[in-house]
Point group: C2
Chain length 183, copies 2
Amino acid sequence: MAHINLPEGLPGIRGPMAFRPETAKPLNELAEILLRDDNNTLSRGERELIGAYVSSLNDCFFCQNVHGALAQHYLQCDMQFIDSVKQNFQLTPVSAKLKSLLAIAASVQKGGKFVTEEQIQQARAEGATDREIHDTVLIAAAFCMYNRYVDGLGTWAPQDRQVYVERASRRAAEGYIDFDLYK
Amino acid sequence: MAHINLPEGLPGIRGPMAFRPETAKPLNELAEILLRDDNNTLSRGERELIGAYVSSLNDCFFCQNVHGALAQHYLQCDMQFIDSVKQNFQLTPVSAKLKSLLAIAASVQKGGKFVTEEQIQQARAEGATDREIHDTVLIAAAFCMYNRYVDGLGTWAPQDRQVYVERASRRAAEGYIDFDLYK
């Protein structure tokens, strides 16, 4: 049971968002711009993968499955691939640039000061732009918020991971501004 | 020097916000609703104090001084009081309810799952409402994002803490929607 009385039947972040729509609005707008806006040289799949990876580092079941399933949808891969990225992205066949960005995201998850100049130089060497480094840092930071919001209020989440996979295409189509995203 | 090429002369979060105004908009709107909106039973001073406290736990110099100075402005206290809250809020003369909320915020800073049912019950016993608990969790979670955004990009910050104090009243008047907040 959640720590506060949330509207029933809404998993994960949907409960707190329905409880407090005033804060849900900018939270959803931030997700839409960071993760879904097509004015970005990182693909939707790459950005969702960064979010899923940070959520797994934060051990947030709901977020890592929602965004892992979205990454799977966009990247046209299977769940095993998403899980292998979470376990050790260096050993997976993602681009060298994305690996360098995932390394930065992992540092941000620990704390902003863990990002090193070497990580930045590595990302640049792999072709990452300032905008891509910026967005990686903010995506990782934002998931450190979303994950804490979801788990800090003790929300529930469907335990069958296939549920998230089945809903991903609709979520991808509807986007984050739609308040009923996570139904 | 910051990790990416940010507009010059803008300290802390202002540089990344000027670099990427599309994401600055929801980031500022979230801060405005959470910290400044008067439709809230937690005072602006209490909410800024929670933000400053979490920022100190995350060792973010810029955020803890911006928001510590705002808390100081609203609470009409001195910097020593703000520092004593950061060092050990249990020993400071803040309300028992605020102490219980600061304890929840400290758990959120570690990770969402660190919030305990005992902490929630304690907050309720001190009169905290569901909305106040919700807002405390989201403020703490949001500062885990803002702090990582500021430090993860290696931004600079004025080192003289008095600078923040002197600018607090103007910041309080202008609010967070104004993009030039931190000048």
